[in-house]
């Protein structure tokens, strides 16, 4: 799981049927200043600028799509309010 920032979203009218209706957000890991643009299915209605938790897991993909075998593994599973290191 990675802490990421939502930096945008993607408009994709043509996508896999199991992703139909899913909002896809552009996310950037907090520890990366640049690099390839990563996207994740939004399971929590995160807004642009939100700090979020992104999971790379087929089980998370199954949870948000309702499909047993989803074609996605990148999912925003939570919005982070606060982070504290002990």
């Amino acid at each position: 799981m990675r802490v990421c920032r939502v930096i945008g979203h993607v408009v994709a009218s043509s996508k896999h049927p199991l992703l139909a209706g899913q909002k896809i957000m552009v996310v950037r890991p907090e520890d990366e200043a640049s690099g390839a643009l990563q996207v994740a299915v939004d399971g929590v209605q995160a807004g642009i600028g939100s700090k979020v938790l992104v999971v790379q897991s087929g089980a998370a993909g199954a949870e948000v799509t309702g499909a047993e075998r989803p074609p996605c593994r990148s999912v925003i599973v939570g919005i982070i309010d606060e982070e504290a290191a002990a």
């Binding site: 930096i7 993607v10 408009v11 043509s14 643009l37 990563q38 642009i48 074609p71």
Partner: protein, 87 residues
């Protein structure tokens, strides 16, 4: 999942049975300036796309699930992007 651009097509002269007739595209990741970066990757796709189309690529085991029956691939194009809106 990541954003990429289609930069070509791959044609197999011989292949294992599940790949027969399967469309394969070469893609390259894109950066925040929407410019291609890094090395090209071969992705299976459910539809023929054109060069320079922006696409959503899923990798690893879940890429198989884009196909019915599942195709033994580790990268698949799962969406064609109309617009990328960066905030």
């Amino acid at each position: 999942m990541k954003l990429a651009k289609v930069v070509g097509t791959v044609v197999l002269s011989q292949c294992i049975e599940p790949f027969r007739g399967q469309i394969l595209h070469l893609t390259q990741d894109i950066d925040e300036h929407l410019e291609p970066m890094g090395e090209a990757e071969v992705c299976a796709t459910w539809a023929a796309l054109r060069e320079r189309d922006a696409v959503i690529v899923e990798v690893a085991r879940e890429a198989c699930n884009a196909f019915d029956p599942p195709l033994p691939v580790d990268a698949a194009i799962v969406g064609k992007v109309d617009e990328i809106r960066l905030g």
